[in-house]
């Protein structure tokens, strides 16, 4: 502020202290500095041995990829395969176009299946039997996965890794996290995390260089025999280019549409089949 000088007096500058302005400037500078430091440092150097931090970094890396694809070699112990008494080995190829499209193709020893979601509907195609079913599900991948899970009682394979917030989905299950050290998975150096949860205890290996999931072994401790799910991740591509047509199922002439049974319908069927049997002989 400049006061009017009296005659013969030099002008005096009064510099007023402005705390509000000072605070804002400081916050802005600190934020800019933090951003520039984060941008400068590659992911590898920010990774430390904090399992929670590693999970977050893996999650952020996956969430930031708009178009990604990867391959999973999944082994399911027999006790985890619904309705069957045989273990299942499958190779699953997953393509994701955020926010609202994905495609999963699963080839196992006795069956080939595909799941299509294009933001408008979700279709399951049993390639082996030439059958398909479609559910009207709209919205983002997160919304579709939640809806399908709630209504139809399933999720796409390893859905936790394709959601918009994998950390949020995983951390809801996890009770404790432990860092177990560095190990090599298929020639890739990985951080080995041990994650315990109510349903399953998991070991997760995250690449030290790219912070992508490389292997998952989940032991379902509440099931008889502690069956395991093993998934080995590979062929990561976080900058894939897709033809949008690949997310929409178009039935060929020889493919028949069948019904997709809801969880409620199946519960009803189970209830009917569990109806108490009529005793054949009354006690005297």
């Amino acid at each position: 502020m400049l006061k009017k000088p009296r005659a013969g007096q030099r002008p005096v500058h009064h510099c007023e202290f402005r705390p509000l302005f000072f605070c804002f400037t400081f916050i802005l500078l600190a934020f800019a500095l933090a951003c520039s430091r984060a941008a400068e440092q590659p992911a590898t150097t920010t990774a430390n041995n904090d399992p929670d931090q590693l999970l977050r970094q893996m999650s952020e890396k996956l969430a930031q990829a708009k178009n990604l694809s990867f391959k999973v070699e999944r082994k399911l112990d027999a006790a985890l395969v619904e309705g069957r008494n045989v273990a299942e080995n499958a190779v699953i190829e997953i393509s994701v176009s955020r926010p609202g499209k994905f495609h999963a193709k699963s080839d196992s020893t006795d069956n080939a299946r595909q799941i299509f979601f294009d933001g408008q509907s979700l279709s399951i195609y049993d390639q082996t039997m030439k059958l398909y079913a479609t559910a009207q599900v709209t919205g983002t991948i997160d919304e579709a996965v939640a809806k399908i899970d709630e209504t139809y009682g399933f999720t796409p394979p390893l859905a936790e890794f394709i959601l918009s917030d994998p950390y949020g989905a995983l951390s809801k299950q996890i009770k404790t996290r432990t860092y177990k050290g560095k190990e090599s998975i298929a020639g890739v150096e990985c951080h080995h995390l041990s994650l315990s949860a109510d349903e399953a205890d998991s070991d997760l290996w995250i690449g030290t260089a790219d912070l992508l999931p490389r292997k998952l072994v989940a032991t379902f401790k509440n099931r008889e025999g502690n069956p395991q799910l093993q998934a080995v991740f590979s062929n990561w591509n976080l900058t894939s280019t897709f033809d949008d047509k690949m997310f929409t199922f178009v039935a060929a002439n020889d493919v028949e549409k069948i019904e997709m049974i809801t969880e409620a319908q199946m519960k009803e069927a189970a209830k009917e089949s569990a109806a108490p049997e009529v005793p054949t002989r009354k006690n005297p």
């Binding site: 398909y132 939640a146 917030d165 379902f220 019904e259």
Partner: protein, 119 residues
Amino acid sequence: MKTTNRSYRGKFRVLLELGKTISRVALVGALVLSSVSVALAQVYGVRRTAVVKGPNTTVVASRTTVVAGGTALPHGYIAALPGGYRAVVVSGTRYYTVGGVYYRPQIYGGRTVYVRVHI
């Protein structure tokens, strides 16, 4: 001087209010963001286990432990057709038959299952 002090107090009060507002917004944001993440009934695509209550709140036996967490299917459902089946079309609908038993295919849990039907 008094005017300056009053001015400082006023500005600090504004700053304090601003701080409170920012923290409130941050809290609401954190709550909203945390609620966005999806809570699944599956673990890596495997159904969670749960106790199934049957009629009269008795725990249902193995025959129906099924739907909320087991790996069996309800009575009358099978996950794979027995060997030697053949497809037949009845009134425009595909069925599979083996040994005089007919099955209608359905998708359940992301897989094809077959329910025994009477034709």
